[in-house]
Symmetry: C2
Subunit: 377 residues, 2 copies
């Protein structure tokens, strides 16, 4: 079933579609200091802490802007002068963390691993052994540029044993893939108001261990990105330090309520998994093949090879899908001849089924009729 193309469904790595009820709260102008808005802020903060089971040990700090700001805020606030951060990258978002550290002139070391397999703990163990200057380790949980999921537990264990701070960029996974502070040792996890939390984009968040934050006073070389000061001010007044994006914050509180109503991260993950299964099966039936092996894939976003057929063009597929009310996404430059379809956001299995129909129609329109047999995975 085609949708209204002026109000499309986003099947992308982000921004993702959010519910009409979440968007609806933005139709009101809110004073930033009023009691109802303060309740929204307090609820969102405590909800995020509860999501990681971090009650009394963690604090949730909003960073207006985007999740990239939250990652920068975590590095500038939590890595002290004289500190050094070991950054892992197997994709675009790992590379961005390296860029952040370079700009901040924060000493850093880099581990790069292959883009289509998850990180393994060995190079981390080696780096921590050979470079005692390292004080922190930072990884991307779900690398959105491929959809690959890097395992956190073995790296968290290494950090715990070695007494290093562990920082997690969970921007693409938080809210769907559980992160449990009772069993996982980490100093901070960063997330977006959008993505799996399904608020509108515009606020990043850092959920920070109180012990790590307490030691971070005065570290930040940025006023606006100072997590310590933002947290202090919130704790004292309930307010953001500077004018917040009131509509975005109110929408985020509503998104948290809807996240809770869906059964939290397990409920959301189950829906995304159904979306992903329907997507992968549907695309394979049409002869498309995936880039990341199923065993390493996350139900966040899937990457497909452009089919090797003379009539196929990604641009035509994109346009045909857009006319039918669905937005899909090109691959990253590093992955030539690929494209991505997301499973996140206010998207149901029925929506994915409709999208598969739209793909089939568009392929027929293009004259791509025979892609051969589905590839094995």
């Amino acid at each position: 079933m085609a949708r209204d193309p002026t109000n499309p469904l986003l099947l992308t790595p982000g921004p993702v579609s959010v519910s009409a009820t979440t968007k609806a709260v933005m139709m009101v102008d809110r004073p930033s200091g009023d009691v109802e808005f303060l309740d929204d802020i307090a609820f969102a903060r405590s909800y995020l802490v509860a999501l990681i089971h971090g009650q009394d040990r963690y604090t949730a700090i909003p960073v207006p802007g985007s999740a990239t700001y939250a990652n920068e805020a975590a590095i500038t606030t939590l890595v002290p002068p004289g500190g050094k951060v070991l950054i892992h990258s197997n994709g675009v978002y790992g590379d961005r963390l390296i860029e952040i550290a370079s700009h901040l002139q924060v000493p850093h070391a880099v581990i790069r691993t292959a883009p289509f397999t998850p990180a393994t703990p060995e190079p981390f163990a080696d780096a921590l052994m050979t470079d005692p200057a390292i004080t922190h380790v930072m990884v991307v949980h779900c690398e959105t540029s491929t959809g690959i999921l890097n395992p956190l537990e073995p790296i968290a264990d290494l950090c715990r044993r070695a007494g290093k701070g562990f920082l997690i960029d969970a921007v693409a996974s938080f809210g769907a893939i559980g992160i449990d502070a009772r069993t996982l040792h980490f100093d901070a996890v960063m997330l977006s108001s959008n993505k799996c939390m399904q608020g509108v984009p515009g606020v990043g968040w850092a959920v920070v261990r109180l012990g790590a934050l307490g030691a971070a006073k005065g570290n930040s070389r940025s006023l606006t990105l100072d997590l310590w000061e933002q947290d202090q001010y919130l704790e004292r007044t309930g307010l953001f330090r500077y004018t917040p994006p009131t509509q975005v914050v109110a929408a985020f509180a509503q998104a948290c309520r809807e996240h809770e109503a869906e059964g939290g991260a397990p409920g959301r993950l189950a829906r995304y998994q159904r979306n992903w299964r329907r997507l992968i099966d549907g695309m394979r039936q049409m002869g498309f093949t995936t880039v990341v092996p199923d065993a390493f894939a996350s139900p966040i976003v899937a990457t497909f090879h452009n089919p090797d057929h003379k009539a196929f063009s990604f641009q035509a597929l994109f346009e045909g899908m857009k006319r039918r009310g669905f937005i899909i996404f090109p691959g990253r430059l590093a992955l030539e001849n690929t494209f991505r379809i997301g499973c996140m956001g206010a998207v149901t299995e029925a929506d994915i089924a409709d999208a598969m129909e739209a793909v089939a129609e568009t392929m027929q329109e293009m004259g791509v009729t025979e892609l051969g047999r589905p590839a094995a995975s």
Copy 2:
């Protein structure tokens, strides 16, 4: 006439109310790379440059977050290593610029002047004479904590003659009080998506002289706040570097269209002046007195003394106004026993008349019946 208190009119220094049509564009989920959204970005950028008559000489750079981010971005990007910025303050927002420079560890000197009179050029001339290390001067145009308007021309002239960069925090004035790059010499002006531009809050902007920006490559110690890189990326791709707050940006483009339809800054200023006149006259008729002399006041926000009457309490006035659908604002801590009422945003003279009625009713409710004669101004 009272309003719906669940959808109140904000008569505050910000966030301010925006039109229903501006908020309505947020009910759609937009892909961040799609042609319609790129058109919105391009239109907003060119509209801001046109507003200052800076075509071909200036570029408009969005900074997701808030206007404070834009001020920090301007300082970290435009003041080079070895540079020094002279910051003026006669209120809370001037003080915030000093805090930004302190955090960034950017060398700076400070001129403080009295809070209820505008800055005069003499101390700037003295500072530039005695401290040749100064490379930039930064001032707040409209100091929202009092509503006072600092004159730009004499300071811009000093900077031009001395070859110093001039940075303007016009967060509270931009869009209503004209800033004309044909006659005023400056390197950058910073603004909010909200305030007099009447978009929803969530994006700051810096409109920067190309010559100044071209010299600023590599200065920024922040990745997210690097104006040079954000501008390069926008020029090359039409896109923000990182996921933008798509709803906020689309609403800002709509707000620019409505600003244009109102006749640009002169049209908007005329409406705010009518609002301010109605507000000041109405409040004086009830016996309230203003803090800032009319000659120095801006039609952005007005500051009133709490009346010296035993039955008066600001909290009761605030609550009574809120029940009637109007939000007013306390004074800043530095100005004890004052409160503020804003004239900005999607607010008409008729709205202010309704608000005056609500003040009268609330005063009666409190039992404040006789405030004495209107004070002379």
